[in-house]
């Protein structure tokens, strides 16, 4: 056992979907577990923080960390695991780009607590209780991790070696990544362990997109019955496949749903949203200012659309608020 490579899995601000991606390895997981020694996997196995602290620095071959960093606990664990690991892998959109939790960057901590614990219609909280980081109770002071104002990607907190994109990542990518890491034949640091072409490359609908596509309006999926063969963008749907890294094999587009961009940008792009925006705006047909505005009304939530998974990783990182 002792010569087996130590591997850790950890989750921060995420939904747990990435854990599913690991479970999705199905029987392959046996091969993985045969090859490695899992030293941390909170979702499945009972290890404690002290177990990790006991491992010498660099004693873990690889940590697969999913989820964004938005609390003191997540930041501490990220630092701890970084120290203990030779290789740090950001697993999934949240860890790589901020993910869905990253949209919290349109607000700050107080606004979020206000909405979640007081403002939301389904909340019953007559005393207006909100989470406290510490609470004095009979001489004890239990503490809770503190929620930050801003959600960060993993690499904004610690040094990251590799990224596995996706919300959730395709099981195959996880498997390939594990195999690559175990092989010792490591790609350059910073590599995203997925193809570096946009999704269209693997989308079966690509050939149905007209060479010169110009759109007169944008439609939302509930407004039309999408043709199951034809390019979704050509049907007016907001498909972000052209701007999004491939690797998923077109799971959504095969399911007749447009790509929402969870695999993030290719390596040549600094701001996913900027490129997603240009992919759509560039092919609008209208020329007149009011006509253009009319077409753009079909994109009611531009930030939520273009930065659905990547707001913390974007150039602006978050919404600016009054000082």
């Amino acid at each position: 056992m002792s010569e087996k490579a130590k591997v850790a899995f950890y989750w921060c601000a995420s939904c747990g979907g990435c854990e599913e991606a690991v479970v999705d390895l199905a029987e392959k997981i046996l091969e993985v577990s045969a090859a490695v020694e899992i030293v941390l996997w909170p979702v499945a196995l009972d290890f404690k923080r002290k177990d990790i602290e006991a491992i010498p620095d660099g004693g873990i071959v690889a940590t697969f960390l999913n989820g964004a960093i938005r609390s003191t606990e997540q930041e501490e664990m990220a630092h701890l695991l970084r120290r203990k690991s030779k290789v740090m892998v950001a697993l999934g959109s949240c860890s790589q780009l901020g993910g869905i939790p990253g949209l919290a960057n349109l607000w700050d901590r107080s606004a979020i607590l206000e909405a979640v614990y007081k403002g939301s219609p389904s909340t019953v909280n007559p005393e207006g209780t909100t989470p406290q980081t510490a609470y004095k109770d009979n001489g004890r002071t239990p503490t809770l991790p503190m929620l930050y104002n801003t959600v960060r990607t993993l690499d904004q907190v610690v040094d990251v070696d590799y990224y596995i994109p996706g919300c959730a990542p395709a099981a195959k990518l996880v498997l390939d990544a594990v195999e690559t890491l175990l092989s010792g034949n490591l790609p350059p640091k910073g590599t995203v362990l997925a193809p570096d072409r946009a999704l269209c490359d693997e989308c079966p609908r690509r050939d149905t997109r007209p060479d010169k596509l110009e759109l007169a309006e944008f439609k939302r999926p509930h407004q039309i019955i999408a043709d199951p063969e034809k390019c979704l963008l050509a049907q007016g749907l907001l498909c972000l496949g052209p701007a999004t890294r491939g690797g998923c094999g077109g799971l959504c587009t095969k399911g007749n749903m447009p790509c929402t961009g969870c695999y993030g940008p290719t390596s040549r792009v600094r701001d996913y949203g900027g490129k997603a925006l240009t992919a759509l705006a560039s092919i609008i047909e209208a020329k007149d200012d009011t006509d253009i505005e009319k077409v753009l009304a079909g994109i009611p939530d531009p930030v939520g659309t273009f930065y659905r998974y990547s707001l913390p990783a974007s150039l602006l990182k978050r919404k600016t608020l009054e000082a």
Binding site: D196, A198, C200, R206, D211, V269, K275, I283
Partner: protein, 664 residues
Amino acid sequence: MSERNGIVRIGVYVCHCGTNIAAIVDCKAVAEYAGGLYHVTVSRDYKYLCSDPGQELIRQDIRDHKLNRIVVASCSPHLHEHTFRTAAEGAGLNAFYVHMVNIREHNSWVHENREAATKKAQDMVRAAVRRVVFHQSLEKVRVPVHPDVLVVGGGIAGIHAALTLANAGKKVYLVERQPTIGGHMAMFDKTFPTLDCAACILTPKMSSVKAHPNITLWAHSDVTKVEGYVGNYKVEVARRPRYINEDLCSGCLECIEACVYKEPKFIDEFNMGLGKRKPIYIPFPQAVPQMPLIDIDTCIQFKSGKCKKTCVQACGDRHAIDFSQKEEIRNIEVGTIIMATGFKAFDARRTPYYGYGTYPNVYTSLEVERLVNASGPTAGDVVLRDGRKPKTVGIIHCVGSRDEGTNRWCSRVCCMYSLKLAHLLKEHTDAEIFNFYIDIRTPGKGFEEFYQRLLSEGVHFIRGRVAEVTDWALDPTEENKLVLRVEDTLLGTVRRIPVDMVVLSVGIEPHEDAQDVRRLFNFGCGSEGFFLERHPKLAPVSTFTDGIFVAGCCQGPKDIPDTVAQAGAAAAEALALIDTGFVEQEPNTAYVIEDECSGCKTCVPMCPYSAVYFNADTKRAGIHQVLCKGCGTCVAACPSGSIKQHLFEDDQIFEEIEGVLTYA
């Protein structure tokens, strides 16, 4: 970056441009600042970098310090980018390692605060230093130049340019909108200051155009489409029907004689409506091509189909008259284009206070040109519209010129032609003549002498802008006269001058469709509508579109000598291109990194030149390098960052952005 581009050694050069830059920007401080930037090996300021010693300084530094990037902070790249690129090449450095920072036009000339201007210059230099790190060696693309030339407009400018080129052995297409070439000059009687007859010097040139084997003349035709780029323009010309078959017509003009209208009845455009013509007509006797045309608005055959067609009978066996003639489209390929579309005379109705159109005896200068012309509607007899002969004439200068209400510019010709018309009217009628002027401007060879001559001929000159031409009479001397009310600024009093005839010396304007025309050809216009030259002094006949040149009044008001000189210059520019045989294109083309392209096709509709295409076999986009004009629109559109543009790489621009915003 260093791995990709080797060891970067940058030389920064800050130009004083005499005091043009140095007076506002602290050039020494900028150079010192640049010297401290990463990768900068040498940094200097210098009085005139574009001078020979300035260029040599750069070349010497390249050799001595093994510089492989050059940043020149001086004037606009539109002025001297070529100079400094060539200098770098002289020292063996690829031209595209040079980048210019504009600290003159964009800085010292527009700012007043030395501190702010210097800071801005430092920001811009820092951006450039960061940018050039990412520059790469590039090769210029050579494109062959088609040897044929298109000349648009058959006035004196177009005629002279066409003949110059044709005489040099080049094939020329001359396209003219009117049924005849000759333009405005053909309407003039005499030319100032020599008073030689306009027709005598122009008509031989018109005939040579028709006779020249190298010139294809298409009158009564319009350019309808222009595609392509320098050296390779594809042009579509629509030849409007004259209803005369030009191959069959012998130019005998018997058809005109034979027309069922025995007397000319319709407004004669060439004579400014002072004469009459028939439905089948030739604009004027020396028109080229020497061939009639039919006006379908007045021809009975076209209006009712029930004409005796005496013209056809007169034409007889030649069968040249063809009522069914249709517009013909011709497609040609040329390498260069000369725009010589001329001007529009100011419409005197826009100055209603001068009574043109209200009082019949108010004439425009062009009408008077026809009136004094021996081949004009009155055979040179100056008879007013009411049948009288004028005993007094008032000539008002600057009508539609130098006027906030109409056009602000000087027409550059109305002083001289007003003097000429004063002389001719005096000669023809012995009338008393008053010139009303703002200033007399005679800055040409023999011009001032001509003015002195007029003074000695007893023509009156009253300095003042005429307020109005009116027919209200204060006393019997003004009965049945046109009264010019004017403040005589030399006497300091308001005067009323009663005259029989008023001549409005109208100014020069761009054609009404000048904007459409230059859009068709894709080059620039000034705000007033005259075609914009590339540089007012150093490239006066070039446009910002390579291979298209301008000559004559379409570029701005000018007289015949200047027009001819400019036409010659435009022809010479075209010849220079043709005889070089190729043009070197700025290698700022876009290119697809095929391996990275997903084949999403977003880029394909971006390109107006169809340079971007989708390869159905490889499922990747591609860009025809020869067709790409380097706008970069597809680059900005590519959602996966798989298209790049030479000289405007993403990395280079990002570095510039960060450079101007980073405080070192």
